[in-house]
Symmetry: C2
Subunit: 398 residues, 2 copies
């Protein structure tokens, strides 16, 4: 352990995660978080006791309400959202689709969806599809891939033609941390609805969706919420919109009384109307362990550790890797939980790093993305990772 | 064990399932199948070894292809479908939505979706939503709730205005087993696309989707495929349609090269284009155990046991419950894997049966639905369940 680990009040939590006793340097917890040690046993016990023991009775006893119960927990622990506005279900992509369709339906007659060119591919692809099928056009915001969407850039793009603005809280490449309340206010001033993608921030950056007057948000649970590969996403709908919001995938779980199985669809009251099919119960188990741990620590402490880790990565890179450039904001207040450093040989370097059991991610153009999951990453791990980057780059540039 | 169990060549397989050594009489395996005993440990091991050990590398090593690999297995073992036409992902409802949108887009200019009034609620609700947003109208087939859609009924409904016909292979209430090749041919003669919902048949009734010239099909994996509560569904698209089929939820996992993360969406070649978001890997684990078991036995043997179980339920009901009426086809060739018996007091009876650890399901109007999952249900269990129904009905009708 370096001194930083000795001084870290959360250092002991690293032991709660599977595999942290190995030599692997894992710098991709923002793509797929490590499982907690309790999670494997939780899943086994669920199969044998709840699924196997309660069988169909489990639906009435607890599973039926899980989308809301787990959604409210995410809201309370991570989002700054009062109960009744968040549900879990479907993939991030499907929820983005439903939320974008909902937003566009809230602004009939408006003709544009605003999205930035550096938004995550799925956000852009879904927006493109929704625009096409609803007869709208996309207005692109051009952003520097090492930064993100500023108020100035957004102000140029929105106007009375804007139905929807689609933005990411933390940019997946640069880690640019958007100013959610300011950008939301700007879009509202133009009469537009805003959809925030929280995938790269939830569980790492504290938020206050209710206080920030957010309309709609969608987030992923397998990154900083450690829900496991392909764990279901969540959607937040502000209470003030719950009565008017509609979405096109009309399924039995989003209907008023699913077990009435009536002749016609009537959307459920509240945020359940964002649901469609049977809730992915098994997929919702893992993330509950991480929510409990974050709740114990508090999001402010998580963020403090996250900032310390990214500061350490930036300082160590400046020291060991002067031939790289920082592609993330230098100001911690504008930076999420990861750091991207650029070098022309980073694609090749990433392949070699993986061979040496150092696991960052690579993102075009030539970015090494260091995802520093706050509770499972140590400062020593970051140092060791960057020392290996130095060795690998030296080997590639003789 | 009754003689029927002694004579059952598959009787020993019941021991492979969690909870079959208890006194519970479980007659709802068509709503939620029992877990296999190996499944709990499979999930625990996955968390600790694959997710926890391989971390993000798991995507390249195997998870990325799981939707196709598991889809092809379902196709081979259960559907009579050659590889490359089936993928797993999303809920049944979301896949029904995508498949209906795909079908409607294949028949521009046509104005109607044909669906039967007794189809499962989600099928009807999704069809209603798709019709509304695409400017089509629904044409309803009226069916007897104790039967299903016949060729005569379908012939009256389809015509040159029909874009899409939505049908269930096995009706969720009556267990009516539709004649898939005949009805498909009828719809094709009218120039329509047919979407088959296989939720209540897959894993219990053998099928030959390729030979039957089926266009599109969607099915559920938590019923007879024992995937666990909310396990993801699958979609089948006939090879001849793969180049033209499109769906509106444009996500990164359905794009040509997900990790290229390019500026614009281009659908993947093949059936992957039906995918949208990150595959629900944890949710796909359980069903693989059941697929392996069905593969070992073969769908014909599964069906033989299923028919024997439903025949036994009908004969025992006729014997013990002459005051009930059969709401399922008497002819085994027209019947799926469950049996519904009606009595005016069945709603009250079901509540009392649950209190006595006999777990069937109730479906309006006054139907007791006995779901007889072929490999986990014994003949003695059916007898004991129906004896309890007799006692309960006697208690309710003094």
């Amino acid at each position: 352990m370096t001194d930083l680990d000795a001084d870290d009040p959360l250092a002991h939590l690293r032991d709660h995660f599977v595999g942290t006793d190995s030599d692997l340097v894992y710098l991709d917890g923002n793509s797929l978080g490590r499982p907690l040690r309790v999670t494997g046993e939780r899943l086994r016990a669920f199969v044998e006791q709840e699924w196997g023991g309660r069988l169909i009775r489990g639906w009435d006893e607890s599973w039926f309400l899980m989308p809301e119960v787990v959604g409210d927990e995410i809201g309370r622990v991570c989002l700054g959202a009062a109960p009744g506005q968040t549900v879990v279900g479907d993939s991030t992509t499907v929820l983005l689709y439903k939320a974008m369709r909902a937003a566009v339906a809230l602004r009939p007659g408006r003709t544009e969806i605003v999205v930035d060119r550096d938004n995550f591919p799925t956000d852009r692809y879904v927006a493109d599809g929704v625009a096409r099928e609803c007869g709208l056009t996309l207005r692109w915001i051009d952003v520097d891939t090492s930064a993100g969407v500023t108020a100035e850039l957004l102000a140029e793009a929105v106007g009375e033609q804007t139905a929807l603005v689609v933005l990411s809280h933390v940019a997946y490449r640069s880690a640019w941390l958007a100013d959610v309340p300011a950008l939301t206010q700007l879009a509202h001033d133009a009469g537009a609805v805003v959809l925030w993608d929280l995938s790269h921030s939830v569980g790492s950056v504290p938020m206050a969706l209710d206080a920030w007057d957010v309309d709609l948000a969608v987030g992923c649970t397998y990154k900083y919420l450690n829900g496991g590969p392909g764990a279901p996403a969540f959607v937040y709908v502000a209470e003030r919109l719950l009565d008017e919001v509609t979405q096109p995938v009309q399924g039995w779980m989003g209907a008023t009384d699913p077990f009435l199985m009536g002749p016609t669809y009537a959307p459920a009251g509240g945020v359940r109307r964002m649901l469609s099919g049977t809730p992915p119960v098994v997929g919702m188990l893992g993330l509950q362990d991480m929510l409990a741990l974050i709740d114990e620590v508090g999001m402010d402490a998580v963020r403090a550790k996250s900032v310390a880790l990214t500061e350490h990565a930036i300082a160590t890179s400046a020291d060991l890797l002067p031939d790289t450039t920082l592609a993330s904001p230098r100001d911690a207040e504008r930076r999420g939980g990861h750091v991207t450093i650029n070098h022309p040989l980073m694609r090749e370097a990433t392949a070699e790093l993986w061979r040496r059991d150092v696991i960052p991610d690579y993102r075009d153009p030539h970015g090494l993305r260091l995802g520093l999951s706050p509770l499972s990453t140590s400062f020593a791990e970051v140092t060791r990772g960057l020392e290996t980057v130095r060795e690998v780059l030296d080997g590639l540039t003789p």
